[in-house]
Symmetry: C2
Subunit: 470 residues, 2 copies
């Protein structure tokens, strides 16, 4: 869309007549002219389908993009071409070294007390079962804590089942409470002699989709295969246990681990007009799990931050600082792109004036959280006056900024979180059902508007948001 024509004459006039004078900017440190352009930007973003079109393009032309897979390489090529076509000033990639892992096939069924097929998928990083699969009795645990309380050797020759449930919350906070079952279950069960682990999916749906996700092994502990059951299949397994007879399962997983390989962070910039060396970073992750097409996780984020930057570029004047879009690689398997970015850009981090990531699906933004220095906190109110028309409320000053922003935050980069409604996010997360049809274009436009406005105001602000002492 050619957007310049949309700017009202009055607004253009205001821009010309009101230079960025210290007198105007001082009280709130964001000039009124920038506030006016932010309102225009908000309107344009709400009227634009660009973020949706970007997710549509990514999920249709690339689809699944497991780090290190052909789809991942296709995604990097797609992103370079897309960012260049969208008119960013500079587009480049940076290498990220990653372990290679392929899912293979997953089959499971019970053999006692009744035969029932089970829908399972391997957790990321899992080793395979022996050739032809394994058959064993199931030992049932309601939670990781219960498994950890089992005596040494008590699971010899058994499959441990851990059945912790996740609950729907708007902020997705129950994920953090449950996810240790996924990441540590195999190690804890192996310590006690188990030959494999089945977990209830870390997900809030009751659909026959198992949820994958990364797990890790502990040093000095045997590596045993681990798979997730869909929630209805976990229910079935638990019902079978109530017959008071041994529950036996056959499990056949064929994932493969390969030698280390390489993928790439994809980075693009809209160069700042006054302080090009100072960076406002808006990120998302380009990789996805292989089961779905990575629409909600994190095609949505890729669409949002890319479109937000492009909408800023289309304003009548370049932003004062540089807007940098970072499409991180290999988030799903341990934030490897984020770590590589932070290492490669260590010298530059003091010039990162704000960072945030869109990686919580396609639901509307309902809250702004910040992590600013105390003397910069009044700026949050300036952000709020531009975000409130989007139905966004003010949150606290302990924002995390997003998974891939962790290393930057730890290095003192100020961050914000534009908290999205995640009530249904974990219905789809890491499943085959994460597909484009789950995204509401109107909601995605609201998210894009929020990111565009926040990034733009940060680019225009006078002063520094840095937390005290960092």
């Amino acid at each position: 869309m050619g957007v310049k024509g949309l700017v009202s004459k009055g607004l253009l006039l205001a821009c010309l007549v009101l230079p960025l004078s210290p007198a105007l900017a001082e009280p709130a440190r964001i000039p009124d002219t920038a506030m006016a352009l932010a309102a225009e930007l908000r309107k344009r973003a709400l009227d634009s389908r660009l973020s949706y079109e970007i997710v549509e393009s990514l999920t249709t032309e690339v689809g699944p993009r497991l780090p290190g897979s052909p789809g991942d390489a296709a995604a990097v090529a797609w992103a370079e071409a897309k960012l260049a076509a969208l008119g960013f000033d500079r587009v480049w990639t940076e290498p990220v070294t990653i372990p290679a892992w392929e899912r293979g096939q997953a089959h499971a069924h019970t053999t006692s007390p009744f035969p029932q097929p089970l829908h399972v998928t391997a957790l990321g990083n899992s080793v395979p079962t022996p050739d032809g699969g394994l058959q064993a009795e199931v030992a049932f645990f309601p939670s990781l804590e219960a498994l950890q309380a089992a005596p040494p050797d008590s699971l010899a020759g058994k499959v441990a089942y851990v059945g912790q449930r996740m609950w729907k919350t708007q902020d997705g906070s129950s994920y953090g409470a449950v996810v240790p079952m996924r990441s540590k279950g195999a190690a804890e069960a192996a310590k006690r002699g188990a030959v494999a682990v089945l977990i209830r999916s870390v997900g809030t749906d009751s659909r026959r989709f198992p949820h994958t996700g990364v797990m890790s092994y502990a040093e000095g502990v045997p590596r045993i295969p681990v798979a997730a059951l869909s929630n209805p299949d976990a229910d079935q397994l638990e019902r079978l246990a109530r017959y008071g007879k041994p529950v036996k399962v056959h499990l056949d997983l064929t994932p493969r681990t390969g030698p280390a390989t390489q993928t790439r962070n994809v980075i693009a910039e809209i160069r700042g007009r006054e302080k090009p060396e100072e960076i406002i970073l808006i990120g998302a992750h380009l990789d996805s799990w292989d089961l779905g097409t990575g629409a909600v996780d994190d095609g949505a984020g890729v669409g949002v931050v890319t479109a937000a930057a492009r909408l800023i570029r289309d304003l009548p004047q370049r932003p004062r600082r540089t807007i940098r879009v970072v499409l991180f690689a290999a988030e799903e398997i341990g934030l490897l792109g984020a770590k590589a970015y932070a290492a490669a850009h260590a010298d530059e981090l003091p010039r990162h004036m704000l960072a945030t990531e869109a990686d919580f699906g396609a639901g509307r933004v309902w809250r702004l959280e910040t992590r600013f220095g105390p003397e910069s906190l009044p700026l949050a109110d300036r952000f709020m006056s531009a975000l409130m028309p989007l139905g966004i409320a003010k949150g606290g000053n302990e924002a995390h900024g997003g998974p891939d922003i962790g290393p930057l935050r730890a290095a003192g980069v100020p961050v914000i979180t534009l908290t999205q409604d995640g009530t249904d996010y974990f219905d789809l997360h890491h499943t085959a059902d994460d597909t484009l049809d789950k995204i509401d274009p109107a909601a995605l436009a609201q998210v894009t508007a929020a990111y565009a406005v926040a990034a733009y105001l940060a680019a225009e602000m006078e002063g520094n948001l840095r937390p005290a002492g960092e």
Copy 2:
């Protein structure tokens, strides 16, 4: 549950004091004592979890039960044992000859313009693809009618895709409009030279589950393989077509057809106290598709009619007529159990005083439809006064009675339909996601109450509901 103790003393007294005198019964032809017991039955049914427990038992102890499969044989054995344990007076089975068909594996992906995995499943009765699968360009049709308008030989060497959509309606009426795409698509495409067919799932969800269902071939037309795409995958295929380049798919289906085999209808009776030779038939089908555990289709119906009969048996007095529960075999592959029943019981059909089937999921009943003779229509009002407290409205006099009731209706047996809310039924229908967790026990108790009350009143009525002239 021992139910006799629940009957209030007052009610028992009423039963003893008010014999079924013609004076009381004549105006409406259902005695007031029966109306009083129907109210008690309704209350007991709403308080009972029996129907849910029966579905739970069937889906946990048996699960998938494709006609002719080991699961189907296990279901017949389960049903005989369950009905005997529930105290029916007589339980027996009758043979049904069926073709044998197994699903095998299904894999599909596009190879052009972009590689994308597709979630597919074979339609019931489909032949396999050649060994190793087939690869071909896709010809797109929005509907069966559009396919039928294609010229002869215009699909030579191609895969025909038919993308008709189904819409949610409370009565499921859009199913009938769309299902010819599933049943006839292969024959119509083969006539025009196609090598295979892909259809959009006949289902109202947007989940990554393909919906199976039976199809048939036409005589003298080549038999080509046919599979359903999940709705999100159908969307994906249609998006790929919009790039204006040939869309090519690889399709690998390995179903197998075997020689004719046998399964069994399972039948059980509560014998009538006055007219044991007259039959009130309440049915459901015992078989299911193999992808899910057949909870909603039709474990729910099995639970409802079995529990309804048992609740009637537990009243202080046996019903006047015989209540016969028929768990039909092989409904999914062409109503084969229903046809076998009608043939085996041809002589007895004039003594079938009412027939109905529960085969529309686990949603609440919202309407009573009848097919009574004109002189018996006032009886529908007596039914209604006992059903209205369940939130049920009165419908017309052209009830179908249920899929397996067709042959009985055609033979003049009066039928009713207790129409259930099917708004969400076709989200799950014929998918892997048809599992127990989708059933609300409270809704199922309401359905059970409706069937129990209707069957009981039909058993107690004086007179004949038969449509005029039949």
